[in-house]
Symmetry: C2
Subunit: 427 residues, 2 copies
Amino acid sequence: MAFTEFRPLDEKSLIDYIKATPSLYSKLDNKFDDLSKLGNKFDDLSVKEVGDGNLNFVYVVVNSIGSFVIKQALPYIRCIGESWPLTKERAYFEALALKEHGCLSPEHVPQVYHFDRTMSVIGMRYLEPPHIILRKGLIAGIEYPLLAEHMADYMAKTLFFTSLLYCTATEHKRHVAEFCGNVDLCKHTAQVVFSDPYKVSQYNHWTSPYLDHDAEAVREDNLLKLEVAELKSMFCERAQALIHGDLHTSSVMVTPESTQVIDPEFAFYGPIGFDVGAFLGNLIVAFFSQDGHANQVNDRSAYKEWILKTIEDTWNLFHLKFIALWDEHKNGPGEAYLSAIYNNPEVQLLVQKKYMTNLFHDTLGFGAAKMIRRIVGVAHVEDFESITDDSKRAACEHRALDFAKMILKQRKKFEGITEVVSAIGQF
Amino acid sequence: MAFTEFRPLDEKSLIDYIKATPSLYSKLDNKFDDLSKLGNKFDDLSVKEVGDGNLNFVYVVVNSIGSFVIKQALPYIRCIGESWPLTKERAYFEALALKEHGCLSPEHVPQVYHFDRTMSVIGMRYLEPPHIILRKGLIAGIEYPLLAEHMADYMAKTLFFTSLLYCTATEHKRHVAEFCGNVDLCKHTAQVVFSDPYKVSQYNHWTSPYLDHDAEAVREDNLLKLEVAELKSMFCERAQALIHGDLHTSSVMVTPESTQVIDPEFAFYGPIGFDVGAFLGNLIVAFFSQDGHANQVNDRSAYKEWILKTIEDTWNLFHLKFIALWDEHKNGPGEAYLSAIYNNPEVQLLVQKKYMTNLFHDTLGFGAAKMIRRIVGVAHVEDFESITDDSKRAACEHRALDFAKMILKQRKKFEGITEVVSAIGQF
């Protein structure tokens, strides 16, 4: 069977697809040398659809020798259906970003084995158990002692090396132009993050009736809309680095030792703070949801402290690593701050401080916008959704929403992450 | 003779080129119907090379029936020579920008008759006498009563209609991607505006020895470099609208009735303030040069007042027209401020005020950077260069430089153009 035109795979046609694809079937045979013998390798093959995300179909393919994941993008949003089309070309940009980010941070990005643009299929490393989605770990109250260090490392490397701090302008513009092709996904983000929550939209929902007033207040808050407009402009216009574009806690898979970032189909050249903010904003959501998961055995207070510490450590380590990369490559190819100009310690310190302060405020703004949209927008998060008691869930969401609104409006008054973490703790 | 490969034209081969190009030779015959009769039309043909710019060769072609201009880009910078290569592909982006801006502001952009990518040749309207380069008019002390109105109109229309205030994100990203191809010209600008003046460079020069200390002070001013870095980032990263990219007073041709913007080979999607700032900054340069052109017959004080009024009127009219376009199209296709969100007068006023205040500060910053580079960078301007007395020229340049440094550092403290104009007058 040939796969010369796009068609959605199912568990059966997937087998035919694998049989037709050397870069895939070779993974299932560690001594692969003879296609005629391959039949056997399919005898113990297990194929399982595991896509619990909003967008795509994901199959785990395992036999006794090897394994991989097959991810296929369909031309609409899976969780909504064909009524919300979304180009399957997103798979192309996901594969591109996985490869680019994978080169820069191989420890934290799964390897791509195969990409098929016609079929919108990516074959990549299967993140075997005990890897789980970070969000589920946070709901379960599991501590990940290396999470902050790993995420800081991933973000510092992928964002620094794709920015003008390291790239030449020529390289940068070439990549910017390429990722302009991912505009449909950018438009989707702009709509669900910066638009829908601030207007009446058929897709919005919230814990009703508890949050009816809160949702209305968001739609009528002029100062909030003013700040959101600034962030949206930055999102649409500022090509600062190749960002993941959807770096929430369901885009990260973890074990106590391993942290893997997946699902960069929203990748494009955008503001760095959008990635850092997405991650920190989702950790803050996790924090505010903990009271809903507390019970008589575990009041979650120690876990809340761990989340706060992880927020603080992630920013601080990211800051440290980003500046270290900057210092290390200050005589490198990057065209933003030429060494012949920024050649004394005093001015170097000044520009780095200004850059990181602006990035910090961008991070808080985008993080807050991401929180708001998860409470009154279209796509909610399991952190809150898994709290079955409506009134309890609404109480958690209400506090998170109020905190996010405050941060969005006041973000430029915060001077450091310690202040933010203490504001979360006291809220 | 065929022109299937690039080669530089001269006055002789240009005739062959015109004879081979219907869209050109038809301009020289208002009853064009028979190629065999065309020979006659070349009998009274005049071809004159008039390129006094820094980059290209420009020929004026006139006969008794018609006229046009032929502009050819060579793969280096004309005023420096083959030692400073610059892609001849710039002609492609110039033609693209002329057409795009010409659709939006036909009264102020000359019509393109012909474009040949292989030969890097543009055929366009000849701006017949008494059109002169605005800079020469400013040096001669000529008032242009419609200049502010015309330039405000040109800038408001070309910049508004190519921004996300009017465009869809899809259209915007497609154009951004296309103009990413003009990266070599962007790099050139970044180098001569944001880099060279702030470091030792073989190309820099200034009125020596008078300004030796000033040039050194620019290279050692950490706070100035900090502000310049912010502007450079915006220039390299922020795709706000299709900007002209080199909108100084030699890119404008004028008569008392007509204002025509030429030479957009530096066009790309960049910050709006870069265009508005280039124009206003060059008017401020013209102001500070007037004392050097004063004599016993004319002390230029009335003309200086006219320049100040033109600066003020240009910004105020631009502001007025830009906001009027925004109001007119607030329910249009633009995705920046959706009408369903920004649907009440109070929030509309808030976002417009914030947008224009930011744009005003960007304008001042870019304008000041453009002034500085004309005094201590590679390419100077006739406003100052035509002052033959070195010490007199240096005195004018010194005041302009000090003013520009002050504005660059203090720009965010200025609340309106009146304050700026009064600061210029009192400096």
